[in-house]
């Protein structure tokens, strides 16, 4: 016999961003809980709305599954006395297991005989086990918890009711003075109080009371509503998944409606309109079939279509007030000048220890200029880099960005064009915020790339010097994301500059400042550690294995694009049978070099031709390798090192490196060591787990 089980947690409105994750936790935790309790079941279905999290378990067994278990007792020599009779210890053991000495059997465990009994663990009644679900409810984790009234529990929002049903019976427990029952509630305004007769009717009864408990169904209703408007009005509504998810989790019963905007507002930059709609009001913007913004928006009401015109009118009014504000800011801002806004940066703190935004911009300018020079940019471009860096933050003090912070950079570009800045410079302002999320698009222009890297370097170096090292989930300044961004930009532009030199430029900048920061070796080590972790993370994202990552990062992160190329070449050779010969030779050198110190090689005391041959080949290779290295050609560099393989094999075949003659021995070790240095310059090949042997 089986029965359905239903648990529902009724809450004051959960933050939309918590809901999906909480429902997922509920599913996993329920499954683990049932398995641990050995209650078999047919299926688990979860539900979520802003006001409830629920799980329905279908066809749960009425008893735990019976299992047979072996209970281990004392060693046989303790369990039996000298006459072969059971001792008190043995009797005690069997009693404790609910058995008699007749049930005893012996078995060898690690060379010693022990006594055992077989236990049938007869399943308990499911009904008696279910109240333990209380701890599952209490264990759901949220990004933010709160307390309410006089309760000690911390939860996302106050719990207002609990449904716990096993068939038609209520499973008794209590959380925060809320007792379980079979009573749930429909939509806050449209629904009624619902008495559930059985778990199975949960979804339908809620639907009758204007609650769509399944989030997928709610999403589909929203999409259907949007599509029918698209067909009717011949326009397009680009639906972003994030916004759809959020809207879905702000309503229990979605009704899609269309509102209008005064077409005059279309003169505002489209980003302003889109931000007002999406970020502030959670509306979907509407576009023509040609992709132009239209003076409409799509909203989703939490309720039915009754009096929808009042709702539409209200929403239109709110959006109008917002856009009027924006228009006012837009007009006011454009009456000013860039220098007017620049002046205000002196009054905005970037970070307590790192000064104001003005200070930050000054640093960005210097770093950008040095970076530009290292990249051998022409004078004209350098001038533009400087200008872009100088004014990269001016829009932060505009009215518009003050009110619509999401528009930073976008307003920078828009206003810069208005104030007759160069178009490339203007574009650089917008791009220097890129990438604005993990895997986000990178700046396309050189100005955007340089200022983006300079800005991020300044933040990372400054914050870490100020002791704000990210730890665990704590990364308030988004340093990790920014470090990855720097590396990605370096790689995609194939910048021939090492990360270490960029860090030094930035550190020097800070050292020259009258700020209260200690730039010492600890800071350098911390930065080094921090960037290595980010580089490792990025390599893993690219599918590079840990051993190869370790091999290429053993010196420094270096010219990141080149380091990435080295990693790809090694990843390929690592599985390449034909490379086995080379790898064995090179790694043999590396292993032996660990025992030696560096001296000049003296060809005059070479004893064999293979020594001389290896030395000659080394010198030749050294030159060729250097050229390949300078060209940042990883494939060629490794190929050159490979040319040493045959002479190395010969060398080991025909020479006793550890010769009794100390002079000869040291000379040979020095030769080995010179070659090892060359190999290590490329990567620590001894760290690679070569796969071609298998």
């Amino acid at each position: 016999m089986t029965k359905g089980i239903l648990f529902e947690i009724g809450l004051e409105e959960l933050p939309a961003r918590f809901i999906y994750n909480a429902e997922k936790q509920l599913a996993t935790k329920t499954k683990n809980w049932l398995e641990k309790l050995r209650i078999s079941f047919e299926s688990i279905t979860t539900y979520s709305t802003p006001r409830r999290l629920a799980v329905l378990i279908k066809k749960a067994a009425e008893e735990q599954t019976t299992i047979e278990e072996e209970a281990k007792g004392p060693a046989e020599k303790i369990a039996k006395d000298e006459h072969g009779d059971w001792t008190k210890a043995a009797i005690g053991f069997t009693k404790g297991q609910g058995k008699t000495t007749d049930d005893i059997y012996t078995k060898e465990v690690k060379g010693t005989n022990y006594i055992f009994v077989k236990k049938h663990i007869i399943g308990k009644r499911t009904k008696d086990l279910l109240p333990s679900f209380q701890s599952i409810i209490e264990s759901i984790q949220f990004a933010n918890n709160m307390r309410w009234a006089e309760e000690t529990i911390r939860y996302a929002r106050p719990i207002r009711w609990l449904v716990a049903l096993y068939g038609e019976h209520v499973i008794p427990f209590e959380i925060a003075h809320v007792k379980t029952s079979n009573i749930t509630y429909g939509h806050r305004y449209l629904g009624k109080t619902i008495q559930l007769q059985s778990p199975d009717e949960y979804e339908t009864k809620l639907k009758d009371n204007f609650v769509i408990a399944n989030p997928q169904d709610r999403k589909q209703l929203i999409l259907d509503g949007i599509q029918s408007l698209e067909r009717k009005e011949s326009f397009q509504v680009p639906v972003e998944q994030d916004l759809l998810n959020e809207v879905c989790n702000l309503v229990e019963y979605p009704s899609v409606f269309q509102g209008s905007i005064d077409p005059d507002f279309l003169q505002l930059p489209s980003e302003v309109l889109v931000t007002s709609m999406k970020e502030h009001q959670r509306y979907f913007p509407v576009k023509s079939n040609e992709g132009k913004l239209l003076p409409y928006f799509i909203g989703v009401r939490n309720g039915d279509y009754h009096a929808i015109h009042t709702v539409i009118k209200g929403n239109e009014k709110v959006l109008k007030a917002r856009l009027s504000d924006a228009q006012f800011f837009y007009e006011e801002d454009r009456k000013q000048s860039i220098s007017f806004f620049q002046k205000k940066l002196e009054r905005v703190v970037f970070q307590d220890k790192l000064g104001t935004l003005k200070d930050k911009v000054d640093r960005i300018v210097e770093i950008s200029e040095q970076l530009g020079k290292l990249l051998n940019l022409d004078k004209n471009t350098l001038t533009k880099v400087k200008r872009a860096a100088e004014i990269c933050k001016f829009d932060l003090t505009t009215n518009m960005v003050n009110e619509f912070t999401e528009l930073q950079g976008i307003m920078g570009e828009t206003y810069a064009l208005h104030f007759n800045e160069d178009a490339e410079v203007a574009k650089g302002l917008r791009e220097h915020y890129l990438p604005d999320h993990a895997n986000g698009e990178l700046p396309v222009t050189i100005l955007g790339s340089i200022v983006s890297v300079a800005d991020k370097l300044d933040t990372i170096v400054g914050c870490i010097a100020a002791g704000l090292v990210p730890s665990g989930s704590q990364d308030p300044y988004g340093l990790r994301r920014q470090a990855v961004a720097i590396l990605r930009i370096m790689e995609s532009n194939s910048w021939n500059i090492s990360l270490e030199s960029l860090i030094n430029i930035t550190l020097n900048r800070y050292q020259a400042l009258p700020v209260d920061l200690k730039i010492n070796n600890d800071v350098k080590n911390e930065l080094n550690k921090f960037f290595r972790l980010r580089a490792t993370f990025l390599f893993k994202e690219m599918g590079i294995e840990q051993d190869v990552i370790q091999a290429v990062l053993h010196n420094e992160i270096g010219v990141f694009g080149y380091t990435v190329d080295k990693a790809s070449v090694l990843s390929e050779k690592r599985n390449d049978d034909s490379f086995k010969n080379v790898q064995e030779a090179l790694v043999r050198i590396l292993n032996l070099s660990k025992h030696s110190h560096r001296d000049e090689v003296n060809p005059a005391i070479f004893e064999t031709s293979s020594e001389q041959m290896l030395f000659d080949k080394y010198q030749e290779t050294h030159q060729a390798y250097k050229t390949a290295n300078k060209d940042r050609n990883a494939d060629e560099a490794l190929k050159q090192l490979g040319k040493l393989a045959e002479p190395i094999h010969h060398f080991f075949e025909h020479n006793m490196v550890m010769s009794d003659d100390e002079k000869i021995r040291n000379n040979r070790l020095s030769l080995v060591n010179h070659i090892a240095m060359l190999i290590n310059d490329f990567a620590d090949l001894s760290a690679v787990e070569w796969k071609q042997h298998f």
């Binding site: 409105e13 939309a16 709160m146 307390r147 309410w148 806050r188 939490n302």
Partner: protein, 293 residues
């Protein structure tokens, strides 16, 4: 419904929920939360239910009476219930019905919004309440006040009177709102809005204000030394308003700004602690009353 009727309706509703009806507190402040009726009384174990209208001054929001939505001084209707009742959302929605807002004809939502006031060492979790997309109320469960854990937790409802009125009266300009029959907000507040803006942004005597800040701060400390919690708190409010005036005038540099906020916060924290200690010495008298009731 004019503003006067709205206030009467809200007062009646919350009075029926056993809230004390208090009057606005007579020291300048930026929000109803800063009234001692909220900030101090939400501390400690004693039950406390109160409702009042609070004129709230935000010098930086002054717009010379020219912006249809922004005011140097607006009005909040403030409700505090400690401990927070289990049916507080229903009580709130009922209050909207009393204002003629029928949830079936609108879209009323609770959208996550967490509140923090670093100056007062206070923070809370809750929502902004949306009425057809417009934010009309801040709904907060206090978690920390004056740096102390709120226990039991108070719930705070802050209705934006002008916002609600512009919805109810369907007006786009705040100055056109009817306070009572034949009298608009503009009639009463346009001139003060204009003059306060001129004063705040152009005419204030900043040397005097800097002096006042220090004097108020000193006096707050001096009063605290004599364990005079309420007088000390009044001076903290004066510090806060004086700081707001200076800040709006643009004469406080960024570095100094952090310093000023920290100074006010330290005062507020000490007062919060002293208030709880004082109530404790008195044996939390309102707790006893509850028991006897």
């Amino acid at each position: 419904m004019n503003i006067q009727e709205m206030i009467l309706a809200l007062q009646k509703h919350w009075s029926d929920q056993n809230c004390l009806l208090m009057q606005a507190y007579d020291v300048e402040k930026g929000a109803g939360t800063m009234s001692p009726m909220t900030l101090l009384r939400s501390l400690g174990p004693e039950p406390w239910n109160v409702a009042y209208v609070e004129p709230s001054r935000r010098p930086a929001d002054g717009r010379y009476g020219k912006n249809p939505n922004r005011l140097y001084q607006h009005h909040q209707f403030q409700v505090i219930m400690k401990p927070s009742p289990a049916n507080i959302q229903e009580l709130y929605l009922e209050s909207l019905r009393k204002l003629g807002i029928n949830p079936l004809e609108h879209d009323i939502r609770f959208v996550e919004d967490n509140w923090e006031n670093p100056t007062l060492g206070a923070s809370g979790l809750g929502w902004e309440v949306w009425l057809d997309g417009m934010e009309i109320t801040q709904f907060t469960y206090f978690q920390q006040i004056g740096g102390l854990e709120a226990n039991p937790v108070s719930v705070e409802l802050t209705y934006g009177i002008e916002r609600l009125a512009s919805f109810i009266q369907d007006k786009e300009n705040v100055f056109e709102l009817e306070w009572t029959k034949g009298v608009t907000i503009g009639d009463i507040f346009y001139q003060p809005e204009y003059e306060h803006s001129v004063y705040t942004f152009e005419e204030s005597n900043t040397d005097m204000l800097f002096n006042l800040f220090s004097m108020y701060e000193q006096e707050a400390k001096a009063a605290m030394e004599k364990e005079l919690v309420f007088p000390s708190y009044d001076y903290v409010l004066k510090c806060s308003h004086t700081f707001n005036l200076l800040d709006a005038r643009g004469v406080i540099s960024v570095t100094e700004r952090t310093g000023y906020i920290a100074r006010v916060r330290t005062l507020a924290r000490n007062i919060a602690k002293a208030y709880v200690a004082q109530r404790e010495r008195l044996g939390f008298p309102m707790l006893k009353k509850e028991g006897e009731y």
